[in-house]
Symmetry: C2
Subunit: 330 residues, 2 copies
DNA sequence: ACTTGACATGCAACCGGTTGCATGGAAGTC
DNA sequence: GACTTCCATGCAACCGGTTGCATGTCAAGT
């Protein structure tokens, strides 16, 4: 049977070392204030007793607990794991821990999580938040906040500009001779979706290409698959999907309808999360999610240190990665 | 400019409501101890002041902070996100927050994370821990611990048995008339690989099927693709791949060689991480990672409540998920 | 030898809650 | 009407650290 050892306190160490509690505290936090001998004596006593500073108590008196929160809409979406990983790594470099929250794409859940996190993190990163600007502003009033893929004035944010990559995608399709294309859109309250749709329309109109939008509701395989009939009905010869998951769904749907890719139809995804591991390899727009995670946390930690909020707007450009789902129009 | 509102304390609420601090505390934690009118008065005052209980202070005096830690070796491995998600959901149901740690497959990093988490979580789930039994036992002495995919006596654990699913895969192929199959193996030092290979051989010999092993070196798309020539050279009519990524590579390689799946060749993956989002949909062995995450957290919360450690060994069997890459042998 | 100052350490208040025990008043009992 | 019982509330200690200020000591400065 395993039994649990319970907390050794600073007082016990103080007694053992024959000093005041404050000296023990200083031995751990500002050893330069004490004579070297005292420090070693205290350390030895602490070691012997197995003393470990109580994080909670420390947090209570200092107001700093060394945690930051990261809230994402859907961990299972392959876009996020690399972002989370990078965020965690960056936090770790400064000895911070990451609280992870998953909102299931649900603003209410997100609000709830922010509230619950608020008391125990020093700052928060909201990735692809589904909250209203208003709610985000309200939260930003409570604690340091950094956004990923939400563009709100006055709140530090890291934006992955999929616009640049999408523009390249449209140019790529234009060069291949496609004159009529479809944008398979994602969640309507997603900032990225808005951004991509806008970029596509702008690029297309500049290149004299007709774009139609087919909604896929959720960013998922199934909605992509279900959108296929609507896509084909437009008479387009190519499509850009909101993300790779959706694209993969479209790919499946097309295949079922005996439309070959890229022979009969060209398809481009976004976020480049599946491109390299599926067949045929998906042409897609790179995502930069790793950098986004790292930069967001780094920004947040900066804010915590300087206690200042700068109006940072950090933009990461994306590019088209050409693989095997695009070819010349028939 | 956004400015931050700082903490309203229980004392301020007490003053505003004209009661003692303890009453305010009780209004929030055990309202039944107070008269209804007092409670409403306090609540009204709290509301007006924007009071929110300080989580840290509460944790200090109660010793319960409502957090559990989850440590995984690699968030980016598609096996884990569903597990994490499920764990988070389960924790959430009991108003617990999840601390997420990523060890990069590094035991030292894992040890460090456990140490850092220890002070601020009530319990810990270690998924596919890379620590030695000894270290795990040591940690288990410090705080409640639940393991996923590690089998250590005396420590509650959740194990995913991929053997059962692999057995079903072989039976499925046998029923379809395949007499000669290939196992496309994964990393030689992987415990799962060993488990799967063993299960395949046992099942095959029982069913009078010939199995050949083709190594794929790494569990990846490319090594799967490169293994195709060797696979076809064996004259087999079906293959089981170490994991879905490898299977997807094999699928791509077969397609390039004009071998149609499942018409000419049947293919089964493992872990079911891609099956539902690729085309053709991959027949695969389920991974149960969602259940594993949920059960592990649930077990942990139980332990926290009952303050007891039971020697639980929860085994999750896997099953074959038949999709569209398997058919009758020619 | 006396002041001055630097330095090491202790004291005690504080962070913001929780909780066992004491108290006082109202209701219930005889 | 006096006595118990019970309930709502307050008091104060406590959780385990941190930190501003006071104190004591010892060496350097004159």
């Amino acid at each position: 049977m395993i039994k649990r050892t319970k907390g050794v306190t600073i007082s016990q160490v103080a007694d053992a070392a024959g000093v005041a509690r404050s000296s023990v505290s200083r031995a751990f936090t500002r050893p330069d204030m004490l004579s070297p001998e005292t420090v070693t004596r205290i350390m030895k006593a602490a070691e012997a007793l197995g003393y470990v500073p109580n994080h909670t108590a420390r947090a209570l008196s200092t107001g700093r607990h060394g945690n930051v929160g990261l809230i994402v809409p859907d961990i299972a979406n392959p876009f996020f794991p690399p972002l989370i990983q990078a965020a965690q790594l960056e936090a770790d470099r400064s000895d911070f821990c990451i609280f992870l929250g998953n909102t299931e794409e649900n603003p209410k859940q997100e609000d709830k999580l922010v509230g619950r996190f608020a008391g125990q993190v020093e700052g928060l990163v909201l990735a692809s938040s589904r909250l209203s600007d208003e709610r985000i502003r309200a939260h930003a009033g409570q604690l340091p906040l950094v956004l990923i893929n939400r563009d709100i004035d006055g709140i530090p944010r890291v934006l992955i500009d999929s616009g640049s990559g999408v523009r390249e995608a449209v140019e790529h399709l234009a060069k291949l001779g496609h004159r009529r294309i479809v944008y398979v859109s994602g969640p309507s309250n997603s900032w990225s979706n808005k951004q991509r749709r806008t970029a596509i329309k702008a690029a297309a109109s500049r290149l004299d290409i007709v774009v139609e939008t087919v909604p896929a509701v959720l960013a998922s395989y199934n909605s992509g698959r279900n959108a296929v009939s609507a896509i084909l009905a437009t008479g387009a010869t190519a499509a850009v999907a909101f993300d790779d998951l959706t694209a993969q769904g479209v790919l499946a749907g097309l295949s079922e309808k005996r439309v070959s890719v890229p022979g009969d139809f060209s398809l481009i995804g976004c976020d480049d999360v599946l491109g390299a591991v599926t067949y045929p390899a998906l042409t897609s727009v790179s995502n930069r999610s790793t950098e986004a995670g790292r930069v967001a946390v780094s920004l947040l930690l900066d804010m915590l240190q300087s206690r200042a909020i700068r109006d940072v707007r950090y933009v990461l450009e994306t590019h088209l990665v050409v693989r095997n789902t695009t070819a010349a129009a028939r």
